[in-house]
């Protein structure tokens, strides 16, 4: 279902967490809220879930005003950074939680109906555990699972209630690098299978670029830019987005992507003179660190073959030319 955030503001004491935020999340899309910590991205996610109430503004889910709807009735799935596993329940119990409290057998309900309900729940749990690759773990307790497994369990638990939107707050933040990479790819595939509107929070630009179709960059409680990963990388609307999304170098007082700088052996129009301080060979990539005079230094990213072709050496004088393509649009 689509989500519309209309002029939402939220403060905690003197601290402005969200400042007049407007955003549309398309039905079925996969969106990342990206920004530095304290930028407001988690608050925005919690406002969508109903775990925080905005001071002003409106939240619409599937076209309906949900601003004052309590989280219990929003029908959103929420996944926490530290899993929020119910430690006293088995994996199956955790996943079934949302189903059992919704479909509690009422007094007077026929025993047969109650039994078929519990069979229904069991089948649903089995199906979800298969989806998150935890079949065979149904009777374990969360303490017997690894971090990655716990997070997949939390995801299955959130999906069990067939939420209209799935919200994930730094879902891979507490996991080690290898598991994080695995789960990213897996979340992407899961979204292709389940198609539920998904919003996740991250401070890791690589994670956002790798997983999301749409990235929302937040800083100081304001949306800095909304776009596809490619749009943000190639056409950042301001210095903040430019520097936050991908590497940057500074040449002649402006920011540029280090791979958009050409190294020339002869002076030419629009070039700056520089001396090579160091050459770092990082496999395919070669990183050249240079001094620009007056104590300014910068770095340029080039390929191994290009560096060999130019026969670059430390101490050499070269000229740098910025390719204008990804010049930041001034804010």
């Amino acid at each position: 279902m689509s989500i519309v955030i209309d002029s939402v503001s939220k403060t905690f004491g003197d601290y402005v967490a969200l400042d007049d935020v407007r955003l549309e999340v398309r039905d079925g899309s996969l969106t990342a809220l990206l920004g530095p910590s304290g930028g407001g991205k988690s608050t925005l996610l919690r406002v969508i879930a109903g775990l925080e109430l905005p001071d002003s503004g409106m939240v619409r889910i599937a076209g309906q005003d949900a601003t004052d709807t309590p989280p219990q009735r929003r029908n959103v799935g929420f996944v926490f950074q530290h899993y929020a596993a119910f430690k006293h329940m088995t994996v199956a119990g955790n996943v079934a939680f949302g189903l059992t409290i919704r479909k509690q057998p009422r007094w007077g309900m026929l025993a047969r109906t109650a039994r078929s309900r519990s069979d229904e729940i069991e089948a649903k749990v089995d199906e979800l555990l298969k989806l998150v690759h935890l079949d065979g773990f149904a009777h374990r307790y969360p303490s017997q699972l690894s971090g990655g497994q716990r997070q997949r369990m939390a995801l299955a638990r959130a999906l069990a209630v067939e939420p209209r939107v799935l919200l994930l707050d730094e879902p891979f933040g507490a996991l080690d690098a290898t598991v994080r990479k695995e789960l990213r790819a897996w979340l992407r595939r899961l979204h292709d299978e389940v198609h539920v509107t998904t919003v996740f929070v991250t401070h890791d630009q690589e994670e956002a670029m790798e997983v999301a179709e749409q990235i929302v960059v937040l800083d100081h409680g304001r949306i800095q830019q909304v776009g596809t990963p490619r749009e943000l990388y190639e056409r950042p609307t301001n210095d903040f987005v430019m520097r936050f999304i991908g590497p940057v170098s500074e040449i002649g007082g402006r920011w540029i992507r280090p791979h958009d700088v050409e190294i020339l052996l002869e002076p030419a129009e629009g070039t700056s003179e520089a001396m090579i301080d160091r050459i770092l060979h990082l496999g395919f990539e070669v990183r050249v660190e240079l001094s620009l005079g007056e104590g300014e230094s910068t770095w340029v990213q080039t390929t191994r073959s290009r560096a060999e072709e130019l026969e670059l050496a430390e101490g050499q004088i070269v000229w740098l030319r910025a390719e204008t393509e990804s010049e930041p649009v001034s804010a």
Binding site: P71, F86, A160
Partner: protein, 265 residues
Amino acid sequence: MRSKYALRFLALGYLAALLGIPVALVFINAFQDGIGAAWEAVTTPEAQHAFYMTFVMVAVAVPLNTVFGILCAHAIVRQRFRGRALLNAMVDLPFAVSPVVVGLALLLVYGRRDGWVGEWLAEQGIQVIFSTPGMILATMFVSLPFVVREVVPVLREIGTDQEQAAATLGANAFQTFFRVTLPAIRYGVAYGVVLTTARALGEFGAVSVVSGKISGQTQTATLFVEERFQRFDLTGAYAASMVLALLALATLLAMNLIKPKEARS
């Protein structure tokens, strides 16, 4: 190495002198006239009634203080309101105030002659002081902080993530509390119950003031021990003390049994 042994000796010696030897002597003295005499001393009608009164104190004070303690801890940790800090400090009052003072304070409120509400209650036919209700109130007062103090840190430690997860899964406040919060704090509650029980079993000062110490009527086990002792019935005093000590020991043992495996050392 030597300092390590010295430290160990000091710690054990301190415990032995303060706790071990006195308690052991109670056991020895209880049996100075033989097991039969000790058994007889604690099975007289007065003794039986005294233990029954102690049982009543525990049976009423512990459940009430458990429910109140959980609610109070929840308010202190999870809610934001004016006077929260005051509530937090008030809970510790029974630790700070001497039980005798508690007893006197209860007299001032419920005393029949010049108590604050005692006169009115007496007109309604309710006697609080020198009767079971007053003794229960005194026991509740002195054993009030234990559940709160055990549950507050556990509640803080588990955080709000699980409760919020339950909310997003559709659970109402009631379901969240009984299915998520309460199971998560159950060990804290259990320790609190054990300590409350031990305290209620052993209460003497406050109950002594409000009970009137009427043998066979308003006499609890601890008051029975005092009375026997003052009447030079040492066997009776030590035998009843031993039963009290055994009850306390059983409660503490129960605490060790319910501890989760990883917390056991």
